[in-house]
């Protein structure tokens, strides 16, 4: 494999209504083992995936919220979140199960476009 690539996962969908964020997270965990330069960016409804206090027991759907806390153990430390997406949803970092770096509309286009690979979920 040799060279390390910059690979970003963009999480912009809400949890549970569709499977994208869950299966997206599963692919992040696998890629974490390949010693690439992995990052996650949470924008739009993707910020909902990190909200504390999810209880999926009544739906019987697997709650994947704890997996986000496990990302560090996989050496995936570059987590970014769009401040504006949080703001308009009335949320702050205190509402989240992990603490991504707050980024804004100035920084995000640079972050995205410097990647070798961007995978949207």
């Amino acid at each position: 494999m040799g060279k390390s690539k910059k690979i970003m996962f963009i999480m912009r969908k809400a949890p549970y209504g569709t499977i994208y964020p869950f299966e997206g997270l599963e692919s992040v965990l696998i890629m974490g083992a390949y010693e690439q330069d992995i990052s996650l960016l949470f924008i739009d409804d993707g910020v909902y995936t990190l909200r504390k206090g999810m209880d999926t027991s009544a739906l019987g759907i697997k709650n994947f919220s704890p997996t986000f806390k496990a990302l560090e153990g996989y050496d995936i430390n570059k987590l970014y979140i769009d401040k504006d997406s949080l703001d308009i949803r009335g949320m702050t970092l205190d509402d989240l199960v992990v603490q991504p770096e707050l980024v804004d509309e100035e920084m995000i286009p640079e972050l995205i476009e410097e990647q070798d690979v961007v995978i949207p979920f």
Binding site: D45, M54, A58, L59, R89
Partner: protein
């Protein structure tokens, strides 16, 4: 004339479906937010409170408890009625339905 229950399942931040429902539903017709639409019922967002508050002048709004819980929403915007699946069934007893995604 009877009103109809309008069921929305997509996030209003993602699709423009809410606008369509407002445009094409009768005054007084209830709106039920399920699945990803439920997340928008969370208290705390000035934008959602303004928008849903505005809608509630013409339409009763319901949000599905099981979907709220799954998304970590424990407090909803004032005026939104939280119902569980049994309550969903009761709404369908009263109204014909129209689903929007």
């Amino acid at each position: 004339m009877r009103n109809m229950l309008h069921i929305i399942n997509r996030s209003p931040f993602y699709t423009k479906t809410v606008d369509t429902v407002l445009k094409f539903s009768k005054k007084g017709s209830p709106i039920l937010l399920i699945e990803d639409a439920a997340a928008a019922a969370a208290a705390g967002s000035a934008l959602c409170e303004a928008k849903l508050g505005n809608i509630m002048r013409d339409h009763p709004i319901y949000a599905l408890k099981e979907d709220l819980e799954a998304r970590g929403v424990h407090k909803v915007i004032e005026g939104i009625k939280v119902i569980d699946y049994a309550g969903f069934v009761e709404l369908v007893e009263k109204y014909n339905t129209c689903s929007w995604a």
